[in-house]
């Protein structure tokens, strides 16, 4: 009896090993590699009006306007923080100069502090961020305030001889997370034969 069982088991083992070969189906292995994943560009470009690079001469009662444009030139939406300020060029500054915001586009102006500096910002929300391709525009006016009193006249006369100022603009841009995320379903996959 034992012999019979052993024999049957051996036969089954042989048959199974043979069948395994014949049961194999067509198989194919596909190795796919995505295209290179690279970083999006993040670029902010400033464009100032021509007079920004020209020396300006001004007298009490006169003013000069500067137009500033900050373009989101990259591929990522951005939040901008910007500061404009009248600063001394070297040594004494022209005391009577006052900064005003004439107009803004795609950016919000804060309060002018002491007539000398002002902060601007875009939001980081869907509707107030600086989107790709958009340009934030700011027009600023620098005025030498005219006042005809002894104190101011003395200060203006002193500034006339030796003072000089500049307009300083600083922009900090932060890239915002994209509103588009790629799910598997978004990937266009095709397996050929």
């Amino acid at each position: 009896m034992k012999k019979f069982i052993l024999t049957v088991a051996l036969v089954l083992a042989v048959v199974t090993s043979l069948v395994a070969g014949t049961m194999a189906a067509y198989t194919q292995q596909l190795d796919t590699t995505s295209e290179a994943i690279t970083t999006k560009t993040f670029s902010i470009k400033g464009n100032m009006s021509d007079n920004f690079t020209k020396a300006i001469e001004i007298a009490p009662g006169e003013s000069v306007e500067y137009k500033l444009e900050i373009k989101n030139d990259g591929e990522v939406n951005a939040k901008l923080n910007m500061k404009a300020a009248i600063v001394a060029a070297a040594g004494d500054e022209i005391n009577g100069l006052k900064l005003e915001v004439v107009s803004v586009e795609k950016i919000t102006a804060g309060e002018v502090v002491d007539g000398k500096s002002v902060n601007f910002t875009t939001g980081d929300g869907k509707n107030d961020m600086l989107r790709v391709g958009e340009t934030a525009k700011v027009t600023l006016r620098v005025t030498w305030v005219y006042a005809n009193d002894d104190t101011t006249n003395a200060q203006d006369n002193a500034d006339m001889d030796k003072a000089s100022s500049q307009l300083s603009v600083t922009v900090n841009a932060t890239g915002l997370a994209s509103s588009t995320t790629y799910a598997i379903g978004d990937v266009d996959t095709e397996f050929g034969n």
Binding site: I58, M160, Q166, L167, V169, A173, T174
Partner: protein, 166 residues
């Protein structure tokens, strides 16, 4: 106590690892831009009186006899100012002694013996100088005796105030 350390060390290591990875994932693209304009300077404002910009000038002394006169001219030149400029010329007259009969100070045909003030507007854009002439005239009264006027002295003071016009 030994048991506590068994937990504290792994927990601290885990926190550190999480922090390091979080820091990396929180980083975003950033870009800064900084621009400074060219210099803003004051326009020049130099006004000349009688071809001089000094604060004080002497128009000179004179001694007059009856029938004589003396002109004092003040030339106003605002052409070197880079802004529009108005100038106000003020004449003050003072004297010691007895005012002589027939003596007068005149300007533009008017008697200004008590002083006067005259304003000249927009001297820069006019592109030319302006002048004011004060004339001290002693019309001879043909008196027999001029001795009472021997110690008479006339003081003329002219102030020019140049001011940037709005």
């Amino acid at each position: 106590m030994k048991r506590a350390w068994k937990w504290i060390l792994p927990a601290a290591l885990a926190a550190l690892v999480i922090f390091v990875f979080s820091y990396g994932s929180l980083a975003a693209f950033t870009k800064s831009l900084s621009e400074t304009s060219a210099v803003i300077r004051a326009k020049s404002f130099t006004f000349y009186v009688n071809e001089s910009s000094s604060q004080k000038q002497s128009l000179g002394d004179a001694a007059l006899a009856p029938g004589e006169s003396k002109d004092y001219t003040v030339v106003l030149d605002g052409r070197s100012c880079e802004t529009a400029v108005d100038a106000t010329v003020t004449l003050k007259v003072g004297y010691d002694g007895a005012w002589p009969e027939g003596l007068s100070v005149r300007c533009g045909g008017e008697d200004v013996s008590d002083g006067c003030k005259k304003t000249f507007a927009d001297l820069q854009s006019a592109g030319e100088t302006k002048s004011v002439t004060y004339t001290v005239v002693w019309d001879d009264p043909h008196l027999d005796n001029y001795e009472p006027y021997r110690d008479f002295t006339l003081h003329l003071s002219v102030t020019v105030e140049a001011e940037q016009s709005r």
